[in-house]
């Protein structure tokens, strides 16, 4: 992989520490603060839309293979060549075969996380095809040799000065470090690539199963150009992008754009219904759709099915306190932020990627609250923490048709008063937690021993007494000592010590009639 290392480190912990120690990155990330309220804007401007969208997404997931077949039939009827790719390798092979058959040499790309998943730009360039990212942010990270750090704002980790430095490597002279000047230069520079391209590569925000419509959402207009100018278009479409009906766009489109950028609608929504038709003078003569599975359909019917409802709006990244500090590259994965922490280990066919990501969350629930399609991200993170310690845990869990664990009927709130993550009856809790045994690691032994002791009142009393006596002897409530087990705490914060007298001992004193307790 040619992607440069931007935030070095062997673990999320090391990379996070490096990201936080990078003052320029920290300065750049403050620019994201303006996106913090997008979730609230959705709630204020589009009441009820979240519920409808969540239900629509689950409707397709409930029969994903069926909707995919319907989408394939509709696309084929429009004259689109549909391919199914199980793995990134399959997808690359299919696309390179098309390129070779059509003698394609110059590709322009619009933004697509699916093409990041399959490292398509590298594959095209390896086959001698010039491939240019045309979304401005994507172009910047491509020139820098990096990955996008945010799925909506790919170069959010860079300051204007850094961006000017990056783009100057492709310019004839110095570039101004202002957004107008850099944008104008990029427009002129990329214009020539658009006009010369014979291949347009896009993703898809949605594909309607009834009409075969491929929907692209952009603000720059590069999606339109990628499908209008080149002779051949290839859309790489992850399988969960399929929606049941064209009419569902009425709900999903405004929800996507408002969650992503706070706009009621993006500047350009491009709806493609097959290649150019008889008598038309532009648009792709040949249109291919590559349906990318990459471990997705195996999640259907598992506790993690909800993750496939994701519409890639980035709202969970914008509100995540951890993401806002460490930025996307610290995750060392295609997808970052809360959804990336869940999706990366789930998509890892080898089962090796992103296993430490779910730990790097405060479980504050801001992501669950922000998610416009009601994915219980914080719950999924907790469940993953448990399941990733169990062998083969990300494989489908047994029997999705198993009777529901809970009816969730215990609290009767009106829909308006519902709390984040409560709205949708997620599969994550229809399957029992800990459905398979975990191996006895040191960590598990420690937690089990602790729980066994503390599940008994006398065990709790005896085990806490020693700590309190030590603390009484010290006569202090805070320590700076780097004690084993709390080192990561005391490196950065004073650590609290037990009070000399616990609440229960003071309560006992009161029960004995003491006035001051």
């Amino acid at each position: 992989m040619s992607h440069g290392v931007v935030t070095p480190g062997d673990s999320i912990r090391e990379r996070a520490a490096n990201a936080i120690d990078d003052p320029v990155l920290q300065q750049a990330m403050r620019n994201l603060d303006v996106r913090l309220p997008t979730a609230r804007i959705v709630a204020d401007h589009l009441p009820g839309l979240k519920d409808r969208a969540a239900a629509l997404r689950r409707e397709t997931l409930a029969d994903l293979p069926g909707w995919l077949d319907r989408a394939e039939a509709a696309l084929t009827a429009l004259g689109v060549h549909v391919h199914r790719a199980e793995t990134p390798e399959d997808a690359r092979r299919i696309i390179l075969a098309i390129a070779s058959e059509e003698h394609l040499t110059r590709a322009v790309k619009s933004k697509s996380m699916a093409t990041e998943e399959i490292d398509l730009v590298d594959a095209l360039e390896g086959a001698g095809i010039e491939a240019v990212e045309t979304d401005l942010g994507e172009y910047i990270v491509q020139v820098a040799g990096e990955r996008p750090s945010h799925m909506i704002v790919p170069a959010i980790h860079k300051t204007l000065e850094q961006i000017a430095d990056v783009l100057e490597t492709r310019a004839d002279g110095p570039l101004p470090a202002d957004s107008e000047g850099l944008t104008a230069w990029a427009r002129d520079h990329l214009r020539a690539r658009f006009l010369a391209a014979d291949l347009g590569v896009t993703g898809a925000n949605f594909v309607a199963a009834d009409t075969g419509t491929i929907v692209l959402v952009t603000n720059e207009g590069n999606g339109d150009l990628c499908t209008i100018i080149p002779r051949v278009q290839i859309a790489v479409v992850p399988v969960e992008k399929v929606i049941a009906r064209f009419a569902d766009l009425a709900t999903l489109l405004p929800l996507l754009t408002m969650s992503a950028t706070g706009q009621r609608i993006s500047n350009y929504v491009t709806m493609i219904n097959g290649p150019r038709r008889e008598g038309e003078i532009d648009g792709p003569e040949v249109l291919h759709v590559v349906l990318l599975d990459h471990g997705r359909t195996r999640l259907v019917g598992t506790a993690y099915e909800d993750m496939l409802a994701c519409i890639r709006c980035g709202a969970c990244l914008n509100v995540c306190p951890v993401f806002r500090r460490i930025s996307g590259h610290a995750y060392d994965a295609v997808y970052s932020g809360p959804m990336g922490k869940v999706l990366t280990p789930l998509l890892s066919l080898a089962g090796t990627e992103g296993r430490d990501l779910p730990e790097a969350s405060t479980l504050c629930g801001a992501c669950t609250e922000a998610c416009p399609v009601e994915i219980p991200l914080a719950d999924l993170l907790v469940r993953l923490r448990a399941d990733l310690r169990r062998p083969g845990a990300v494989d489908p869990l047994p029997s999705p048709s198993r009777p529901a664990v809970s009816s969730r009927g215990s609290r009767s709130r009106s829909p308006a008063a519902r709390l984040p993550g409560e709205g949708f009856d997620s599969r994550v809790w229809r399957l029992p937690l800990a459905s398979r045994p975990a191996p006895w690691t040191r960590r598990r032994v420690a937690f089990t021993v602790w729980a066994r002791i503390w599940a008994r009142p006398d065990g709790y009393r005896v085990s806490t007494r020693a700590a309190r006596i030590a603390s009484l002897a010290l006569g202090r409530r805070w320590t700076r000592w780097s004690l084993p087990g709390i080192r990561a705490w005391t490196e950065t914060r004073d650590g609290p010590l037990p009070a000399g007298h616990s609440f229960r001992s003071r309560w006992d004193k009161r029960e004995r009639g003491a006035q001051r307790w």
Binding site: R13, A16, I20, P321, V322, R325, I326, E359, A360, T362, L363, C364, G365, A366, E369, V382, L384, R385, L388, R389, V405, S406, S410, R411, L419, W429, P432, L433, A434, A438, R443, R444, F447, W450, A451, R452, W454, A455, P457, Y460, R468, W478, G485, A488, W489, T492, R493, D494, G495, P496, P498, A499, S502, F503, R504, R506, W507, D508, R510, W517
Partner: protein, 243 residues
Amino acid sequence: MPDVALFVTCVVDQLVPEVGVSTVRLLEAAGCRVEFPAAQTCCGQPASNAGEPEAAALLARHLVEVFEPYEVVVAPSGSCVAMVHHWYERLLSGRDADRARALAAKTHELASYLADGLGTIDVGATIDATVTVHDACHGLRSLGVRDAPRRLLAAAGATLVELPESETCCGFGGTFALEHGEIAAPLADDKLRHAATTGARWLVSGDTACLLHLEGRRRRTGIGPEPVHFAQLLASGLPAGAR
């Protein structure tokens, strides 16, 4: 005069018992008779969040058993109450899950119990200070606790200044604070810096663990107002002489 069983939480019991004492004083000021079931220990959240649901279930089952006989359970922690509400029925199965649901239905976070459950906005305390409120995450997002502490503090005469990004996490996150100090500390800095801009004397919140994390950081940097549990601050304004 409602009977209330105090679920004091292990953090308060062991680390800041003053919060427990203040909770009792507030509940009594609001006319409750407080009982303290001595067999209670910990809700099990550290194990649950660490991905050790079996260990968490041991503690959950114990807590359910301890509080089953009581009518109303109140805790000075949004997070521990959220654990009971959101997680217990999922950690336990069968009849235990039913018992967990029954416990959740009668378990309340302190501020919302006073303000919403009892309708007691004025507990008779007087606070002459400027305060700013941090909405601790689990109370806010799992229980919907937002206005209650503000209303109680305002009724006591405190001057409330809104905290910028009051709903953003302080970086504690349970085991996260122990395992990811590199992120937890800067998030505490953000919170303390925001609090410092308000000019408040106190940074008030409803979860002791978050407050200890913030105070631990503040003791290193000297930035920001003193973090304090709202129960402790509010009870400090009660007239002397309450038992």
